[in-house]
Amino acid sequence: MAVKPIGIEVSLAVAEAVKLCDTDVVAAYPITPQTHIVEHLSELVADGELNAAYIPVESEHSAMSSCIGSSAAGARTFTATSSQGLALMNEMIYIAPVLRTPIVLAVANRALSAPINIWNDHSDIMSVRDAGWIAVFAENGQEALDLTIMSFRIGEHPAVRLPVSLNIDGFTLSHFIEPIIIPEKEKVTAFLPPNVTDLKLDIAKPISIGLLANPETYTEIRKATDDILLASKDTIVEVFAEFKKAFGREYNLVETYRTEDAEIILLTMGSISETAMTAVDEMREAGEKVGVVRIRLWRPFPVAELKAALAKAKTVAVIDRHMVMGVPNGPVGLEVKSLLYGAPNAPKVFNYVLGLGGRDVKRSDFKTIVARSKSNDVQKSFEIVGVYE
């Protein structure tokens, strides 16, 4: 019997997924717009629906510290944060991957201060871009729920053992009520095996972790961690395929929409991709050959998949939701330019920043971007769309 979708707030659906995954430990501190996730989890634990240790810590730094500790002890561990909360976690964020602690962290993406702003953009997650976490971006509520389940499966996989950040756009995704299929418990249990590992703190077989590395070991342990992160891509593809087999919903590292004959490709991440697709439909009706490529897997960066998706385009317009101060590019723009540099017949790359601090991203913005991208002027290859100056 097929399960019917129910109307549920995306944050609550993520919390329900964490429950379905039999999470052992949740250590979290509330911060807008992530609050509903951990609030609902605290209710589930209090009501006895989820048999987990819920640690109401005094800060996000402590939240991530607790998560590293519980994950190192072999417990399935979840936390969630946003913006300044992720910034406060920063010190511990960099430690989790090297210690190989497969924590799942939901980030309801929100702008970083200053000026203080509670609304959506991607500046928070970009501040920990280089830390060694696997990072995925959800486009809609169903994806947020499915990726929560898959994040545990990927992170805890014996070949991976790395933390995973699941990015959902704050408010524009986290607070929306959408029709979402909540899968049956038995199917999730069958899909997600118990978190078993030898690499854990065990009184019977004691080990030390979190050690000092002198100059003669630091480089090699950093490289070893990066090797694991890069290689995790194969496991992610495998888990996406297993998920499709179990639940019928298909996931790819990079998704394409109407790109077959597209001359101009809009490259997006996160929930604005839906607006971009609607804009593409409208532009297609007007005869424009445009399409959308959406990055679902941000780290490890899906180099080959993205190259393949962009192979036939003449122009790529990379959309960023974060400003890299001091350089005329956004973070995704930089990545795509570096990917295509020196490649034969590489498309022209234009880079646009928009939707900062919760400013509305409209269909008309994508039309503006397509119009601008027809220019051959490399001096205009970077622009903050809609900035009033």
Binding site: R100, I207, S208, I209, L211, E220
Partner: protein, 100 residues
């Protein structure tokens, strides 16, 4: 790229997962050679108060018992910070420069 004579202790592929080590390995990691001066105790003046034992940030002082009545610094681990000499109420610990 690999240098002719590696500056590294272990190859990337030989790094233990999670950079783990067997428990208690600190005992084998002797840090005494970081020291530039060592504490030397004048046992004539020492009153066996235990300040050096309590204040030592690295716990290198070992109680020699009620018969011997003194605390001995384990020079395999003493980093020569001089906190013991500073705190000693009888000023009977002298920091002596380690000469090569």
């Amino acid at each position: 790229m690999m240098a002719d004579k590696p500056d590294a202790l272990l190859k990337v592929k030989d790094m233990p997962a999670g950079f783990q080590a067997k428990a208690g390995s600190t005992v084998e990691f002797k840090t005494g050679d970081w020291r530039s001066s060592r504490p030397v105790l004048d046992r004539e003046k020492c009153i066996y108060c235990g300040f050096c034992y309590i204040y030592c940030p690295d716990g290198v002082y070992q109680d020699q018992g009620p018969e011997e009545k003194w605390y001995k610094a384990d020079l395999d681990f003493c980093k020569g910070c001089g906190v013991c000499a500073n705190e000693c109420p009888k000023k009977c610990i002298e920091m002596v420069l380690e000469e090569v």
